[in-house]
Subunit: 342 residues, 4 copies
């Protein structure tokens, strides 16, 4: 075993998914598991689907608990990562699944999150042009948000190829695990089963500036995103419908070609054959993003649809993919390409 | 009892919902029930949730079976309504839940449905400006499609008030009952549970020209719609996210005011208090459309979100609402405003 | 309008269902709505599916708020009903949806609920032999638990006809609304979707002595019940599989005959045609119980399966049915026989 | 790679799960994939969650297609296995996921399946006492049915320890994938979502004699099973509640001890800590069976509850577990112990 990893926030959904994947990773050994209010309990009470770790006791999330690891995954509530990360020396790789270090622009941070900006870490989306070089050997990684992962992967081919105008409209459906494990009335099964609902409408969702940051970097010019998230009656999965105006003269063939080029050689991007469309079930438990794209000739918009598992490619799988690069391991190590269905 | 109604297509989902509502309608009596392949069986085998009609035998859909009624509801597969309607004299009211008579433009019909255009009937969406006058006393009614019902109700206030530019982008999630009752592999429970999927992407869904027709009429100028439907793991309900660019100078207050004015006095339109967002569960089994709207100041788009029950307001309830007008009855008779939740 | 009703506990699921049904009741007017922690908010924040009452403000549950009504429904957490009921004079009808007054045996109360037994009120299950006479004119009614409603209705025909031995085994699946609206981690959508789980196994569920009480009364001798509840991924509905050994010589025909006799004339009991089996979807939002029965000739057990809506027939609908009797109204007034499906 | 495996019936749910697991198996290589009506199409059209095999073309299920493999998995509709198996020489291992070779008693076959009994193969449930010896080196394996897998694993400890009387009552909830992929109206998402239903009630389900066969063998005396299956709104999973009368004098401690002894050393059996109960979500995609047991002191019944994934431990995982034994490989090779949750 090469590296020993601690997981801070092991009792939540992101933490559970990190552990599920790490249990199958041939080069990473699981070290300390920490939690907040659940410290002192066993992991089996929180992650009963992981019998191999059922007896492990959760420690408090302290510098001592996290010390002595080659690798620390942070799956903490927003705003807690910076303090924890500070105590971890630069010799260890720290991979933060939270939002604290994703944004480069302090003004965007202030507008959407409030308070002081903690800083900016290398952004853990290896599929972005040039990003693998940034991640190789990195000691700090900011894992992208689940929605920005989906939206960026769906539209970067169009912007990289210069096919789209910068007025993006995105509507995405997410499973409820994206809202976390803290019990809230609107997340009760009785409320979410049989119902799709909207939230964070009108440009106020915190993932919006992250999408704009990514797409603007690819486009080389400011891209605006109108983003509407919705909650769907499923535990996992994001299906994002991402549209942008096609520039004059752009053809369906050019769009197809750009997407085929963009996914070529990418181990976790899959463009479906023409005429077939993504479903989140295709990606359940997998680190794969399934894409399709069309040119709406009437409305002259490029419509890209993407499915990911919000906990795998959208969080824990993406985190491990970037960690593999940082550790000098094969990028795909320990990451399932195939999903669980039906 | 004033009127006696036949229901053609009583074994399907739209037919079942018509019967559920008609059973609670104080001025409409249920007459003949007809079906295609299920003729000769009892309704109880197909609609076991309607014990009051369990013993009723389904007749073949013939002119004889439908004759002698004041009112005939057609809930037939696409393309079958015209032939059936022809046999029904003008003294009876015919309400078609199918697509055959919704479009005014034969070219749009040819492009999206193919074949010859059957004609155009009065369009059964009473909330459209001026439409109640059209429907009062009508003898033929084309019930709108479920998606066009949702999208038109969500955006007509913005276009009626001159607030929006005509480049509309809509992404909608529908429950599976919208796809009907014919068994197809992709509609199996094993496939749809736990999964959101896209279909009919790229401007090819047949409801697209109907949306454009409605919104263009309100705007007084051509409106284009980029429409993407998705299938969500629920039996009923549509949540449509409908966006259009805000015209220069439009303010959030102006948008709110336009929507408040549009729903004022409307028995089945409900604008939520600010800060709250629609969920399809709010409308389960009800003829109510629940709306909310915001102005995305960053992206300068009006974002209207609407929830309806696709089988009630989106099909059978809308049909009865228009039929009430045509028959000279109170518009709301027999139609539930309150839903069933959780 | 004959009677004016207060609803204590209007923000919960039972309270919401009471209000949904009362809105359609022609002889009961809705008076005060009260709540605990939600007092001071509007009903629309808690029951957004009931637009007709959206603006009503919730009062504190005090004697003053509940005074001056002909009828008070209590939908309160376990143990709170007795104190509230005391303040309500005998001229008003009090219908308690909680457990406080269901059990006749103080020892059973002490074993399963603990603490002092509050007393015993007329038991609100009109279908039990002789029970309608008890309920007519009653001023206090204890609404049965949802599981005991299902199990008693499923097996009383067998015991009334003397066909079954008294060792009952029941396994029931319930929708999550039966567990209430207080947010708990195991009731989160992420946990319950896609999963069936057991709980309260081994004879410890509080509804067990209530089932035994009811069936023993019908049998005229002690009946023991081995009861296992499970939680299913749906908001509403109970499907209970209820089995008892068939006495020697009992035939399938005798069993069928007993059940046909038991449901004859019962407005809310429906025995399916032979060969068809209940589904909870048949009863969604309806006060109907759907039954089927078979004799397992190999194992010599009577197997009765019943579906009800736990919030309707299992709580609020059952409460109104009994209240109708107590108020001298037609038993079925305001209660839907037909469900909402699919 | 040691062995090369063909999968007959690769387009169905059992076939898909076999392939998902085989893709992660270090000693089995995937050879020919065959199908019935889907022959000639690619696997990607049927199993879009398995991108690594998306381009593989499905062959007709013929002797030629299956020849030349070390190992053939049959995931065929009931009744087709015998003919296919005949063409496969004894040098290859044939693992049949169908029912054809499960029953030892031709009379039970005739009663429940009809027609001529094809024969009896070594029964693929390694956890049964003595069964590992039978399976080591076997050339033919009959994979148990999904329900019998669950019920046998839940109750064999009680019968092996002589604690239970032989009158078993079982009620089990299954996800819809257990009903297969052929589109039928009652399996539509619109029908199954939000609904639990019963079927095959009264001792007529074909898995009943298989349960009796297994438990009788363990008990050394005839055991009767009253079995009621139900369909739950989830794609995967079985939760079976299995009860039997406790023999006089049996204590809760004795029951616990028997179950602890039975699971000791078993790689895929997990007895939960006392007070916790199985949920199917704990086993999603895993080959693990999660158990709990209680003694109902009032009703004097042993109540064992078990959760499995019907497609993994209940079909494909169980098949590979037995195949590992037959091939002389470690029993657990390629089989996930941990599930995917939430």
């Amino acid at each position: 075993m090469g590296a020993r990893a601690a997981v801070a926030g092991a009792s939540g959904y992101a933490g559970g998914e990190l552990l599920r994947l790490l249990l199958g990773h041939p080069e990473i050994e699981i070290g300390a598991l920490t939690a907040g209010a659940s410290a002192g309990t066993t992991l089996g009470e929180h992650q009963p689907h992981l019998p191999e770790l059922a007896g492990r006791v959760l420690l408090d999330t302290t510098p001592e608990a996290l010390a002595g690891h080659d690798l620390v995954f942070l799956a903490l509530p927003h705003g807690q990562s910076a303090a924890v990360a500070e105590s971890i020396g630069d010799s260890a790789l720290v991979v933060d699944c939270g939002a604290d270090f994703r944004l480069a622009d302090p003004a965007a941070w202030a507008e959407f999150y409030g308070g002081e900006h903690a800083g900016t870490w290398p952004y853990g989306l290896p599929e972005l042009p040039g990003q693998r070089e940034v991640l190789r050997g990195a000691r700090r990684i900011a894992v992208p948000g689940c929605y920005p992962t989906a939206v960026t992967l769906a539209l970067f081919p169009a912007f990289a190829a210069g096919l789209a105008a910068p007025e993006v409209v995105v509507v995405a459906a997410s499973g409820t695990s994206g809202a976390g494990r803290a019990p809230k009335p609107h997340l009760l099964g009785s409320e979410v089963m049989g119902s799709v609902s909207a939230y964070g409408v009108g440009g106020v969702h915190r993932h919006t500036p992250e999408m704009e940051q990514n797409l603007s970097a690819v486009a080389g010019a400011p891209v605006s995103v109108s983003f509407t998230p919705t909650l769907a009656p499923m535990s996992r999965g994001i299906l994002a419908t991402c549209t942008a105006p096609a520039l004059p003269g752009v053809t369906a063939a050019a769009v197809r070609e750009a997407y085929e080029a963009a996914v070529a050689g990418e181990p976790f991007l899959r463009l479906l054959p023409e005429g077939r469309w993504p479903a989140t079930a295709m990606t359940y438990g997998a680190n794969t993003a399934v894409l399709q794209v069309a040119l709406d000739e009437r409305a002259r918009r490029i419509v890209a649809v993407i499915a990911i598992d919000n906990l795998t490619k959208g969080t824990a799988g993406g985190a491990i993919q970037s960690a593999n690069l940082a550790l000098g391991l094969p990028e795909t190590l320990g990451l399932p390409v195939n999903g669980v269905a039906p």
